[in-house]
Amino acid sequence: MSSGFNLDPDEVDKVATNIFALSEDLYGSMKKVVDSADGLSGAVDTAAFIGVSEVIEAVSKWNDELVPKHRFEIEEFAGYLVVAVRDTVELDGYVSSAFDAYAAEFPRTEGVPAPELPARDPADAVPSAHGPDIAV
């Protein structure tokens, strides 16, 4: 299997950084929903307004489950780019050990947590052009 970047590694790094930034933006925009919904319980009687209560539940589900999942996918891919550009050899799919080795280099803004998710199915790891990944 052959693979490689014809881009300057700094350019790839820039792309990876920008993709990480997307994840952080996602966190930021969801946080605005959470913040605005925080005041909702005091502003509306949620026992009476079942629809408003559903809105609060939705905010919670998106903030706790759905958005972190998307952020995880985005960051996993950005991390893969960081790893791939540092390893001159082709990676046969995403290798978590390599990912971890470079984790400190992933750009992070203070105050924006990394998405935390339970361990997932190895088959879902990226990118895997030829069947299951080596390790997760």
């Binding site: 605005s36 307004f49 408003v52 939705a58």
Partner: protein, 562 residues
């Protein structure tokens, strides 16, 4: 059964707080749209195959596409949640304001309004006061019921769109849908008009509408008279479900079968009885693959926002045969202007997600350039089986005849779902055989439109613009010099040339006829220095004056088209 909202809860509710949450949801949607556009830019730019090659690179690009698709779905969900919250806020405010007005109106001599919303009669005033209080109580209760209905609709919509639907809630929606589906089926079976369908839809509570959408997208997706955003949701669900039904091994199966077939030498082909069966099967699988690819392209095409910043709306699709699709750039229910573009010969599902949709997008962009024109939604209406072959099929009327009723119904549906039908400038614009469809439909069933435009028409069936059911002053036609359609239009086979460009040949009489004029207006288009065939398709090319003229007509400035 949930308790109705109490008087106190309604009066004290801070709707602005809920509004702020809705606005934050909308912002999430916009941010997501922006992110997925950025991701797509990386996939096709910095991380394209020229810059990053190999198998893993390909897998990486595929992965970007996958999670961009997920984000797109999430963006649509967030937008729908925001819209549901906005609707609810509007309903709550109406009830709150109504209640406040009512409180101010109560004749203190007759009755008083207690803190829990009970209207207490002044018994000293006798039975008249009791009757008065009873009447006022009914009005209080009506406001509370309205607020409760808005709240239930909000709950159902958020549960569906934000994926918080519990099993119990789903059961409630199932039950509601089961109670309503019979009425809808009867309407469909009876051939109800789009207006009747719209009336039925509006008679449902918000919760019932969500229940129908969740349980019967197959009945709502293509049904004229159902609002655009509802049809869009239904059709996207149906499209996703249809794509999921294709075998995941389809491509591999084709490769494997082809390899088996390749094993046969020429002699064995005739001797082995399974050869024919295998080639038939291969043909079937390849057709299946083409259908899947066409649907995938459609899904991709409407995934992000249009270049105008408007959303795409999928108003109908059909993967059978050449395929059909109705896609709108912008929401025609709320836009200031709506143009419905009917393509002509050769239009199919792949065009619907490619060049034909590009034209609709271009027309929406051009309309946006007209100062003070507001928003223009442009619908690409391929709701008919267009002729495939210009020489063999296009001279036939059968395609237009089959399309006639569906186009008329679609236009009536748009009129019935429009928030302000009298204030919206509507145009139906056809290209080539699409103009024949329009002529047939307008003269046979009528089209709910203000303007009709014919671009490069081979004939519109009717002999004069006055037969199109609109003021002839609102009819516009154009054809570029050198367009291959000119000699076709001259034959009069599909009706006289609507640009009135010359003497027509009456096939029936076998003679040239002195034409008295089609009526309406003509406007300029350029041949862009193409050959006859190219000229027929380049009306939407950059620099063609036809584009600005179309934009002027769409936005109610047809008098400036030249």
């Amino acid at each position: 059964m949930p308790m109705p909202i109490s008087y106190q809860a309604l009066i004290e509710a801070d709707i602005d707080a809920l509004q702020a949450v809705g606005e934050a949801w909308l912002q999430v949607s916009k941010d997501l749209e922006e992110h997925l556009a950025t991701l797509d830019d990386y996939r096709t730019g910095d991380l394209k195959a020229d810059n990053w090659d190999g198998d893993s690179a390909e897998a990486g690009r595929t992965r970007i596409k996958e999670f961009a698709a997920d984000l797109d779905e999430r963006a649509a969900q967030a937008r729908r949640v925001a819209a549901a919250v906005e609707d609810a806020c509007s309903g709550f405010r109406t009830s709150q304001n109504g209640m406040t007005m009512l409180a101010g109106m109560i004749d203190k001599e007759q009755a008083s309004l207690s803190a829990d919303g009970t209207v207490v009669p002044n018994t000293a005033k006798g039975t008249a006061a009791v009757d008065y209080a009873s009447g006022m109580q009914s009005q209080v209760n009506a406001h509370l019921e309205d607020a409760t209905a808005a709240d239930e609709a909000l709950k159902a919509a958020v549960a569906l769109y934000a994926e918080t639907l519990s099993t119990a809630e789903e059961a409630v929606l199932d039950q509601l849908a089961a109670e309503e589906v019979g009425a809808l089926q009867d309407l469909i079976d009876d051939g109800a008009s789009p207006e009747e369908v719209n009336e039925w839809w509006n008679s449902l509570s918000g919760e019932e509408q969500i229940a129908m959408l969740e349980n019967h997208p197959e009945l709502l997706g293509g049904l004229d008279g159902v609002p655009t955003d509802t049809r869009d949701y239904a059709n996207r669900e149906l499209l996703e479900a249809e794509l999921d039904r294709f075998s995941p091994t389809l491509d591999a199966d084709i490769v494997a079968l082809q390899a088996e077939i390749d094993q046969f030498n020429d002699g064995a082909k005739f001797l082995n009885s399974s050869y024919d069966a295998m080639t038939d099967e291969l043909e079937r699988l390849e057709a299946e693959r083409d259908r899947r690819d066409g649907l995938n392209s459609l899904q991709d095409a409407i995934r992000e926002q249009a270049a105008t910043g408007q959303d795409f709306y999928l108003l109908g699709y059909d993967s059978a045969g050449d395929g059909k699709a109705i896609v709108s750039v912008g929401n025609p229910d709320t836009a200031d202007n709506t143009a419905v573009y009917v393509p002509g010969t050769g239009a199919d599902l792949s065009g619907a997600s490619g060049g034909l949709l590009d034209r609709a997008e271009t027309m929406a962009l051009d309309a946006g350039d007209i100062p003070g024109s507001g928003e223009t939604a442009v619908v690409m209406w391929l709701g008919y089986d267009a002729p495939d072959n210009p020489a063999l099929d296009s001279p036939r009327m059968s395609y237009a005849e089959d399309a006639s009723a569906p186009l008329s119904s679609f236009m009536s549906g748009l009129e019935s779902t429009n928030a302000d039908p009298d204030g919206t400038n509507t145009t139906v614009v056809g290209h080539s055989y699409g103009t024949t469809v329009i002529g047939q439909s307008a003269s046979e069933h009528g089209l709910a439109t203000d303007n009709i435009v014919a671009v490069a028409s081979p004939g519109m069936v009717v002999e004069n613009a006055s037969e199109l059911g609109i003021d002839p002053d609102n009819f516009y036609a154009t054809v570029a010099p050198g367009d291959m359609i000119n000699p076709v239009a001259e034959t009069g086979a599909l009706g006289p040339d609507p640009t009135d460009g010359g003497v027509n040949f009456d096939i029936g009489a076998g003679t040239f006829v002195d034409w008295h004029g089609f009526g309406g207006n003509t406007f300029t288009s350029d041949n862009m220095e193409g050959n006859a065939k190219e000229i027929h398709s380049n009306y939407w090319d950059e620099g063609n004056p036809a584009r600005e003229n179309l934009a002027l007509i769409f936005t109610g400035n047809g008098d400036q088209a030249s």
